[in-house]
Symmetry: C2
Subunit: 337 residues, 2 copies
């Protein structure tokens, strides 16, 4: 009998998650049936969205999230032993699953396992980062919803994170002026010196509105909002006429039991004729490969750089998750099993 | 020498405007030059937007706004004596002006005078209401930005006003379920019994969120926001997945020297993947005639009903304006000279 270890939610978070909110359990796996695979996790993803919805997790369930896993047994055509998949099986080290199963409804979209394309020399973990969900979460909302034009000003918060770091680089590739906000001087240095952001600021030390008035005196054309909260209000108050805003994350808000009150947006939206859209990348599942293949091309050409913060060890996954929520990561946070 | 009377701003409003904030002055008009007309005002428009921007009015200037005027002298081809124009000359009873002059920049868009089409039996004042700027302010933002589909739920605030009453009726014509919010029981009765709204509520007596949960248990697909403030927050908190919101007015906010703080929108926008856009109808000046001719067709077919609140007398214009801001009007508020 094959055994699996899994990380289970013990209680719902109150404010920030703590390691005591998780517990490791074991289970026996069933035999592999027709249409199924057995796969062993190689990397777990830890992502901000995993903290967002109470509805997403039930106490006692395996904590929901993505992993890269190696197929070790297969009775599913097209999923040969030795290849890897990205799957939303949660934090568990071995899994027997149908390759066709998915759950398309919000708030918890569970896509079917996707075969990882051949990446050459690139690390497998990229399929959880710049060449996976976070990469596409930058690619589609920025290009399809905000449609930045060359010469326009693009601002991004959470700029040193898995999504934000890709957003800024795509905007730079498209000929925009890029302004990033991140939470440490080291991150700011990385954004400017390595990733080619034109301006970057440590929002903990800088007044966001003042920084924007200097870096973009005519206003911001596109704001890619990863974080919500007061920093977003500040950016949204410095938009140019007909500016576009996409909201794909609200990490600053996931801790709040009661949502904060912010400045009344509709009034400024009216005066400047702004557009704001909330977007979950699952919306683009039909165009998934388009994003991944363009991002892969840019990475191989050296135009899109990435950085990963890798925590080692299955049992350290909750700690990696908590650290990522505190902003301790550069780029994508993953766990190597 | 031809004389004109004009209503001039004496001081900027503090909170609600008062009659003492205006003064009547006289001036001598210059002779009509090549490319110019002399016209006599027949109706003045009083509109919520006239209160919105301090930048729009300077103390001592004629108060900015639209009028319908009859051409009495013309040295401009295509503008014959006897025809009428809609022009943004402000509240003045006689005007000599270029027919080609306009100012396209925000925040104060001044279109050139437009010739009123032949309306048959319909009142001229409609070209300041359902067949003018307010009509197009309903038509384009609703159809071009929100794109309601048959069977969808459309909610509108300020529903008994010049714009809102047209919004609800267009949505009904397009096969939507229409929910209106207005400020008196008499208005609610008018919306339901005469204009064919499926649901209408007096927001002063009803909890908006509770009303929406009953009238639209699956949520609102399209919200046409005329008013801003807490009622908007309530509607935006009851949107369906992928809902669309257009903000074209913020009458509840025009009185506030400091903008109110409202519930944090980006978070709910993310969860439901909503879209919000602020829109000034000047954006559609290239398609102006398209909107007017469709609206005229609906009025002539009896599908689009209108009502006007007419105040008589040049000197009563500030009073009509103040009453409209208090919600005393049904449908479009105009002044007949």
């Amino acid at each position: 009998m094959v055994k699996a270890r899994k990380i289970v939610l013990v209680r719902h978070f109150e404010g920030q998650p703590r390691t005591e909110d998780f517990r490791i359990e074991e289970e026996d796996l069933p035999p592999v049936k027709e249409g199924q695979i057995l796969a062993e996790a190689v990397y777990f993803s830890v992502d901000p969205f995993q903290k967002s919805h109470r509805a997403m997790h039930k106490v006692g369930d395996t904590f929901y999230g993505a992993q890269v896993a190696r197929i070790v047994e297969s009775r599913a055509p097209g999923f040969p032993v030795g290849r890897h998949v990205v799957a939303y099986w949660g934090w568990r080290d071995r899994t027997v699953a149908d390759v066709g199963s998915s759950r398309p409804e919000p708030p918890l979209y569970v896509p079917p396992p996707r075969l990882v394309p051949h990446l050459g020399d690139l690390p497998l973990s990229l399929s959880l980062g710049a060449l996976g969900m976070p990469g596409n979460s930058a690619y589609f909302p920025l290009l399809d919803i905000c449609k930045p034009k060359p010469g326009e000003v693009v601002a991004v918060t959470g700029a040193a994170g898995a999504v934000g770091s890709v957003v800024g680089q795509i905007a730079r590739i498209k000929g925009c002026t890029v302004i990033g906000f991140a939470g440490s001087d080291a991150k700011v240095k990385w954004l400017k010196e390595d990733l080619g952001f034109h301006h970057a600021f440590n929002y903990k030390k800088t007044d966001v509105s003042t920084a924007l008035k200097q870096a973009a005196p005519d206003g911001v054309d596109v704001y890619f909002d990863n974080v919500g909260g007061d920093i977003s209000t500040a950016v949204m108050s410095n938009m140019r006429y007909r500016g576009r805003i996409v909201v794909i994350g609200a990490i600053s808000q996931y801790n709040e039991l009661e949502h904060q009150k912010l400045v009344n947006l509709p009034f400024s939206f009216l005066a400047q004729q702004l557009r704001l859209e909330g977007c979950a990348v699952a919306r683009y599942h039909d165009r998934w490969e388009e994003g991944i293949s363009q991002l892969t091309k840019w990475v191989k050409e050296g135009k899109l750089k990435y950085r990963e913060t890798v925590t080692k060890g299955f049992q350290n996954t909750p700690k990696a998750f908590i650290g990522m929520l505190r902003g301790e990561n550069f780029g994508k946070a993953v766990v190597k099993l």
